[in-house]
């Protein structure tokens, strides 16, 4: 039981609990908070793996921007406790089992197909921010530019959607 393993299990437990409460909480704010918990836990896991930059970005962007937007919208719309309607019989009965089945399938697929991963031991290399930025701006420069364009489009889309028609 190395300290890393301990930390891993703590964080993993935190993440799973967060995910569960995201699912079980009735009020969207609580779901949002639990999702934030998941994200912070994941950031911790990234740090544990030595992916510092990704961890930081995970918190700054996901925690600090995206989830803030969610909370903001929830506050804005003053969304109350969600109503427990059940119009979709299909989802009501088949939903959860199917989800579990999917999880099982994925897990099984991983178990079958990631023999190489099992052997490898991560976290050995610390991914310095410099390397990442070098890759980002040298080899992935086109996708990077594309994403900036995507963001631009998204901004415009959000504007168009959110303005009240005169």
């Amino acid at each position: 039981m190395t300290p890393q393993l301990l930390v891993f299990f703590v964080l993993a437990a935190l993440a799973v609990i967060g995910a569960l409460s995201l699912m079980l909480q009735k009020h969207p704010i609580h779901s949002a908070l639990s999702l934030i918990v998941v994200m912070v836990a994941l950031a911790g896991l990234y740090l544990l793996m030595g992916a510092e930059f990704v961890a930081a970005v995970q918190i700054i962007v996901y925690g600090g921007a995206i989830m803030v937007l969610f909370v903001f919208v929830i506050m804005l719309l003053n969304a109350g406790v969600e109503e427990h309607s059940n119009f979709s019989k299909l989802a009501g009965y088949a939903g959860v089992p199917l989800g579990i089945a999917l999880t099982g399938f994925i897990a099984a697929a991983i178990a079958r197909s990631t023999v190489s991963v099992q052997a490898a031991t991560p976290g050995a290399s610390i991914a310095s921010t410099g390397d990442i930025s070098r890759m980002l701006f040298k080899e992935f420069v086109y996708p990077f530019e594309l994403t900036s364009f995507l963001i631009l489009v998204a901004i415009m889309g959000a504007l168009v959607l959110a303005q009240r028609e005169k």
């Binding site: 989802a91 992935f140 086109y142």
Partner: protein, 671 residues
């Protein structure tokens, strides 16, 4: 040595293009003065530049100048570059085009002053200049074809300049479509040439021809040269209004008169002659082609002349005379006297432009009236116009020491001396007679006799100097334009022929005919030609000045012939019957009813109906409830995973997928 302009020939066509672009883009709300400053200025500038270029051309010893500016098309061993070249032939064409074009621009500035769409007119005109210069300067067939199509386009635009007039727009379309037929042939010719010689550059192509298979194809042998030349000649026929594709030119008179002068008399229509002369090496390698060219030219000359006899619209008379003069040029080319053809091309450019401009001035004076029967007695009222027009008429009729005399004489001579050329010569002579006749008929009808118009309505007035200036200059040119050949009459050298000799080689009418010395023969033939011209003049005088009643009697007595001529041999009707009608029928009955309605629409609608049916069945899964959709998504995901990972049959699929794992994707996105 320094040859700045020769190094960048592209300036010459660029200037008119700029002028056209500026006028077309910004000229809409400009005052006329500004517009014609731009247009005339750009053309004049390119004229001056052309002069400088010619000077340098002479200065550097008349060597062929060939500049490759950039590659336009590169495909395999097929290279078409934006290459311009300059040799003696180009020099002649260049000077004619820019010079006459400039004069006509100046003239138009006055003539179009009261028309709408001033800027439009001038931007088209400059555009035309651009394409014409490209055509003349091009160093390969493809670039030449660009100019070729371009002048076609601008002629279409300018013929249909008064597009509100149905006849005008129809005429434009007619010109365009008829030219298409010719261009089709022209393209085929180009393809054939490329397939044979793997190049379309004049230089390389002609060198190749001259060096390798120099075997001339005899009469009736249809080898590469014959076919290619005939195809090229088909294009030339379309552009230069030869039989059977001449029909568009008379109608093209719907355009403004300066346009008729520039495009449909001086420059564009001579493009066909230019092409034939340019590719003379090919033609001389095929007797058949030469004969065909000669016959077609001769026939057209005579045919058009006959129609010209009876036309009453002043511009149409000129149009038919243009057709027949072009026939002359082709006749010259056909009998191998290319330099004579080009010579006539040049002189014709002068006097025919002059004729049209003068006619324009007349129409201007008559306030838009074009029917000669409603004119008469104008000689005193518009002296300058009369004088210049008379000069031009003499020139075209072949009165001695006017430009037309020398060129026409050279053509007839070479026709006579060419083997088996006597019938050609005879018809040419007859045509000369007819030409003299109908031209003087025009003069007499227009300027002499009693005014046949309402003098109170029409206030005849001389045109402004912007119009008369060009007339005078052109008059001078159409007098002295032919004096290159003057020394030839006194045993001296024929300067024009010698100048073009590097291209066409020396003319070969040196052999003795019937014991006469060539020079004596030349003088004799000249005398005969002059005689015929004088006869034509006399007859015209007799008919239209002495006894004006004569023509009607004649027309009555020869009713069938007269009406046939009047209706231009019913050629248009003929075409309509054998070509247009069937086409219309096919496109309506077969293409529209059968193919379009039945097949295409049927398919489309059928597909649509099928889809509607299917959708009707499937739409019941659309519960509209997002959560159910989510469940379906999950089911799909499960199936996909199950298939990929747990169904052995899907191994090849996975193999296909393993091809594009992350790494290769990276390779794709990496710059």
């Amino acid at each position: 040595m320094q040859t700045p302009i020769l190094d960048c020939l592209w300036i010459i066509p660029l200037l008119p293009l700029l002028g056209g672009a500026i006028n077309g883009l910004f000229g809409k709300n400009w005052p006329n003065k500004m517009v014609n400053t731009v247009a005339v200025g750009s053309t004049g500038l390119s004229f001056l530049v052309a002069l400088e270029a010619v000077r340098e051309f002479f200065a550097q010893g008349q060597q062929l100048v060939r500049k490759e500016y950039f590659d336009w098309i590169l495909a395999g061993d097929f290279r078409v570059g934006f290459d311009l070249q300059m040799d003696q032939l180009t020099v002649v064409m260049l000077l004619v085009v820019t010079g006459v074009g400039w004069l006509i621009h100046i003239y138009s500035a006055g003539y179009m002053a009261h028309e709408g769409g001033y800027y439009r007119f001038f931007s088209y005109l400059n555009l035309f200049m651009f394409f014409m210069l490209i055509l003349v300067l091009a160093a390969n067939y493809v670039l030449l074809f660009v100019g070729w199509e371009g002048v076609g386009l601008s002629s279409y635009l300018l013929i249909g300049f008064y597009f509100l007039k149905k006849s005008a727009s129809d005429a434009g379309k007619k010109a365009f479509i008829v030219n298409r037929i010719g261009d089709f042939g022209f393209m085929l010719g180009m393809f054939l040439l490329f397939r044979t010689f793997h190049t379309l550059d004049f230089d390389a192509l002609f060198k190749a021809v001259a060096t390798q298979n120099a075997t001339t194809e005899v009469w009736g042998q249809f080898g590469i040269f014959t076919v290619a030349c005939l195809l090229l000649f088909m294009g030339a026929c379309g552009k230069s209004a030869q039989l059977p594709l001449y029909i568009w030119l008379p109608d093209a008179m719907e355009g403004p008169t300066p346009v008729s002068a520039l495009i449909h008399a001086a420059t564009m229509v001579t493009a066909g002659v230019y092409v034939v002369a340019r590719s003379h090496i090919l033609f001389t390698h095929s007797e058949t082609a030469m004969v065909v060219v000669a016959i077609v030219g001769c026939a057209t000359a005579f045919f058009a002349a006959t129609i010209g006899l009876v036309q009453t619209d002043i511009k149409r008379v000129l149009a038919y005379s243009t057709v027949s003069q072009l026939g002359y040029m082709f006749l010259a080319c056909g009998v191998g006297a290319f330099s004579a053809g080009i010579f006539h091309l040049m002189t014709h450019a002068f006097f025919k432009a002059l004729l049209f401009l003068a006619a324009g001035s007349v129409i201007h004076a008559m306030g838009g009236e074009q029917d000669m029967r409603k004119m008469g007695g104008l000689s005193k009222k518009i002296k300058w116009t009369f004088g210049t027009m008379l000069t031009a008429t003499m020139a075209i009729a072949g009165i001695p020491f006017f430009a037309g005399f020398f060129s026409k004489d050279a053509i007839l001579l070479s026709a006579f001396t060419s083997p088996g050329g006597h019938p050609l010569y005879a018809i040419g002579l007859l045509t000369a007679l007819l030409t003299a006749f109908y031209m003087f008929r025009l003069i007499f009808l227009t300027f002499h006799g009693q005014p046949r118009y309402d003098e109170h309505k029409v206030h005849v007035h001389e045109s402004p100097w912007t119009m008369l200036g060009p007339l005078v200059i052109l008059a001078v040119l159409s007098v002295i334009g032919g004096w290159f050949a003057l020394p030839a009459f006194f045993q001296g050298p024929d300067y024009f022929a010698n100048f073009l000799a590097p291209i066409f080689g020396g003319e070969q009418h040196a052999e003795l005919v019937g014991g006469m010395s060539p020079h004596f023969l030349e003088l004799t033939l000249a005398g005969v030609a002059v005689a015929s011209a004088l006869i034509g003049l006399g007859v015209a005088y007799w008919f239209y000045v002495k006894t004006p009643s004569k023509p009607e009697q004649l027309a009555k007595s020869l009713k069938p012939i007269y009406t046939t001529l009047l209706n231009k041999y019913y050629v248009d009707e003929l075409y309509a019957a054998i070509i247009v009608k069937p086409l219309v029928w096919i496109s309506q009955q077969v293409l529209w009813q059968a193919v379009d309605v039945a097949v295409i629409d049927g398919t489309v609608n059928g597909v649509a109906d099928t889809l509607t049916g299917v959708g009707d069945g499937v739409r019941h899964t659309q519960s509209g409830n997002t959560r159910s959709y989510a469940v379906w998504v999950v089911v799909g995901a499960i199936v996909v995973i199950a298939v990929i990972f747990f169904w052995p049959g899907a191994k090849p699929v996975i193999g296909a997928f393993q091809g594009l794992h992350l790494q290769t994707l990276m390779e794709k996105v990496r710059p």
